[in-house]
């Protein structure tokens, strides 16, 4: 693996700047910048809206030798826009020389507390790297993403301290031209609080968010049950 000349952060959440994926990815690239590796960031959701922005994304991938893909887990895998983007990159990079000098890092985050629920999504990214010819520098699985909720990691304290430490280890390694160390993967897998507490706080959190719009009992509605009426949904 080569020392990076530039990192390209591809944020794969449709929420873009307000996403947990952006929080995690940006923390990592900022640490890389402190170690002398410049970066550029794009939001996949915005890039797919026009041909010009797609071309900009592809050119960014082309000019960078470290690609960092940060994305949320969607139905146990990648969001449709992320898999679409990987297909575009694969087509664009096909048959180009020195692809193995380009490294890919993937960070998958989900609201489930178990980091391993991201494993298939990371395997997809590894297979992408393999099939395109990129060097696979490793993947990180972030469980318990509900604790972040799109806030910058620098503003969050003890809840994510172990995971921040993992990202700092990753930045150290990548800046040296090394893949993600196993120790960082293990640290990242730790939830930081007990699973039971995460579930209690998580479920309460859903209710407290819903209360801003609807009565809590409405959260259990079954609008698709035979005989039920559709709710009014404004366009």
């Amino acid at each position: 693996m080569q020392k990076p000349n530039q990192a390209a952060l591809l944020v794969g959440s449709p929420k873009g700047p307000k996403s947990t994926s952006n929080s995690i990815g940006t923390y990592l690239v900022e640490k890389l910048k402190q170690k002398g590796v410049p970066y550029k960031k794009v939001y996949i959701h915005q890039c797919l809206k026009s041909e010009k922005k797609k071309e900009d994304l592809l050119r960014l991938v082309d000019e960078s030798n470290l690609i960092i893909l940060a994305f949320p887990l969607y139905v146990d895998s990648l969001h449709s826009e992320v898999i679409e983007t990987l297909e575009l990159i694969a087509e664009y990079e096909q048959d180009k020389p020195d692809l193995d000098k380009k490294s890919l890092v993937a960070i998958s985050n989900s609201g489930f507390p178990e980091a391993k629920q991201n494993s298939t999504a990371l395997t997809v990214c590894r297979l992408f790297a393999k099939q395109v010819g990129f060097n696979w520098a490793g993947g990180l699985a972030w469980g318990g993403g509900g604790m972040i909720d799109g806030k910058p990691l620098s503003e969050l304290g003890f809840r994510v301290r172990t995971k921040k430490k993992a990202l700092e280890m990753v930045a150290d390694a990548l800046a040296q031209g090394d893949p993600i160390p196993e120790k960082a993967v293990s640290l990242m897998n730790k939830l930081g609080i007990t699973r039971g507490l995460y579930l209690i706080v998580g479920n309460r959190g859903w209710k407290s968010q819903a209360k801003k719009n609807i009565p809590v009992k409405m959260m259990y509605a079954k609008p698709l049950k035979e005989g039920s009426k559709s709710q009014e949904v404004s366009d």
Partner: protein, 190 residues
Amino acid sequence: MKALVLNGAKNNKSTVNMVSDYLIDFLRINGHEVDVITLRNENIASCVGCFGCWLKTPGECIINDYGRDLPRKVLQSDAIFLLSPVVFGMYGPVLKKALDRFPCPLLLPFFTTVNGEVHHAKRYEKYPLLVAIGVLPNPDQESENTFKTLVEKNGVNLHTTAVSSIVYSTNESTTIKEKVKATLLKAGVQ
């Protein structure tokens, strides 16, 4: 049995269409009611991750397009068939765009545990059988294993039984036909 076939072919030339045709024929010959959606022809936006289907209009997506109808069609079916090219071990973007739109409305936001692992709780009593057929150009063990694992995980998340198989676009049409038939048998669909 009511079957919903979600055709995730990228274009008219895709082998996914041949799989879809054979599948529909088998199902109809055996007396099943079949609803087919050729996804590339429908107006389905990507999920925007707003959680409106949990926090504002529970059980229904706030985006007013064909994707809003999908959860109803899924729930009213006894079996859903996901047909797609296999891309780096997972569904291609055409199918995935549709697939991203229906689990959340069909489930509650609240966490529960299934075999010791956390998942979202059921909103309804029953969910359809999930059958996924992926198309690869040639044998590729890693992609096939990843696809199989993915479909199994989808089944767990959707509180249903999930079955998958792979066909190769380089196969003869008779082989593809036999593989589709074998998949139905594996899924217990007669």
